[in-house]
């Protein structure tokens, strides 16, 4: 019980990775865990600008293993609902279109609360039925809670927070970053 609060970790030092929400090679020299909230404007900026270029230039080339973590803040009324839908869609292999739809239409659904409609617009009716079942089933909540607990362990107090792992070192960073700044940092980490 002494180590009960420390989550199980794999060889890379990162624990509880949902393969549906992780991108790139597990053996990449740099691992990035991004804790985000679907209703947070800074997370939207990070996702729609920086992460796109990151995926193209570092994740697909095997330099970075990118893990999306859910960290729905209590101050946002619909962020947990959105996280549930994204988790459920991830289980069907549809995480990217759903995350993109949620961030792109953030201003709309945060006013109306219509997360379901936003997700339904990018999935087929059959997929949507499965997503709704998963959301109602409650299993996705357990996964979200695990991410949240992990974030608390890293002392995440705002979103987005990115935790970099490289050569045994861990660097948690709060705030949205521009691609140019991130690129410089990653290149330095990779050249260490």
């Amino acid at each position: 019980m002494l180590f009960a609060s420390v989550p199980p970790q794999d060889a890379s030092g990162v624990s509880d990775v949902d393969p549906h929400k992780a991108f790139g090679s597990k053996t990449a020299p740099v691992i990035m865990e991004v804790f985000s909230d679907f209703q947070c404007p800074a997370c939207k900026n990070l996702y729609l600008t920086t992460n796109r270029q990151l995926m193209d230039n570092y994740v697909t080339t095997g330099k970075v293993y990118l893990i999306h973590r859910d960290y729905p803040l209590a101050m946002h009324a619909y962020s947990r609902v959105a996280a549930r839908y994204a988790r459920a869609a991830a289980q069907l292999g549809k995480v990217e279109p759903v995350e993109q739809a949620l961030y792109q239409n953030q201003e709309k659904w945060e006013q109306s609360g219509d997360v379901d409609g936003t997700v339904a617009a990018v999935l087929s009716p059959k997929e949507m039925v499965k997503v709704r079942e998963l959301v109602k089933g409650g299993t996705v909540d357990a996964a979200i809670d695990k991410d949240f607990a992990l974030g608390q362990m890293y002392r995440v107090n705002q979103t987005p927070t990115t935790v970099f792992h490289c050569k045994g070192q861990t660097y948690p960073y709060s705030g949205a970053m521009t691609y140019d700044i991130l690129k410089q940092f990653l290149n330095q980490l990779l050249s260490q």
Binding site: A42, A176, Q188
Partner: protein, 173 residues
């Protein structure tokens, strides 16, 4: 001749104002630059920490929706340094009337900005210090108190400057 006491009410307020506002300005500047990202070594990590902190502060400035993103970047890259320098100058006390006036102007500006955001019910962080802090009525009250202290300190500094310094030797008749 009549000589003002070194411990009169006005001087006490000036001292309190210098210590409180000077300390807060220095802390506010440092916290924006070095918090919440506090990795300081090696050098490329420090540079990334500073870039991240300034970038986060720029977003908080932008969230007030008063100036353009480019202008927010300029504010984020200059304000923390200005706060540190002004805070130190106030603590040192050199050219007090000048720097106290500058701090009063800035505090009144901060008060106007947070009051506007509060009245518009904007759901944002105040960006006052490095760590996220939701803008509430308390933020307005706190900035109002600091602005009042800055104003009183500045007025008293001008009044006291007209009197002979309490520690100067009296003129011989």
């Amino acid at each position: 001749m009549m000589q003002s006491s070194p411990f009169n009410f006005r001087r006490a307020i000036i001292w309190i104002g210098r210590l409180v506002l000077g300390g807060i300005f220095v802390y506010a500047g440092f916290s924006k630059l070095l918090m919440p990202n506090t990795h300081l070594w090696p050098m490329f990590v420090l540079r990334f920490s500073l870039s991240m902190n300034i970038s986060s502060f720029a977003q908080q400035v932008e969230s007030y929706k008063m100036i353009s993103p480019e202008a927010s970047q300029v504010v984020a890259h200059t304000l923390p340094f200005v706060e540190i320098v002004l805070g130190l100058l106030l603590l040192i006390g050199w050219r007090l009337r000048l720097w106290a006036s500058a701090i009063t102007a800035i505090m009144v500006g901060f008060l106007a900005v947070v009051t506007r955001a509060y009245l518009l019910h904007m759901d944002i962080n105040c960006g006052c210090f490095g760590t996220p802090e939701k803008l509430t009525g308390w933020t307005v009250v706190r900035d109002g108190a600091f602005a009042a202290l800055a104003l009183i300190m500045t007025i008293f500094a001008f009044i006291e400057a007209r009197k002979p310094h309490p520690w100067t030797a009296p003129e011989k008749v």
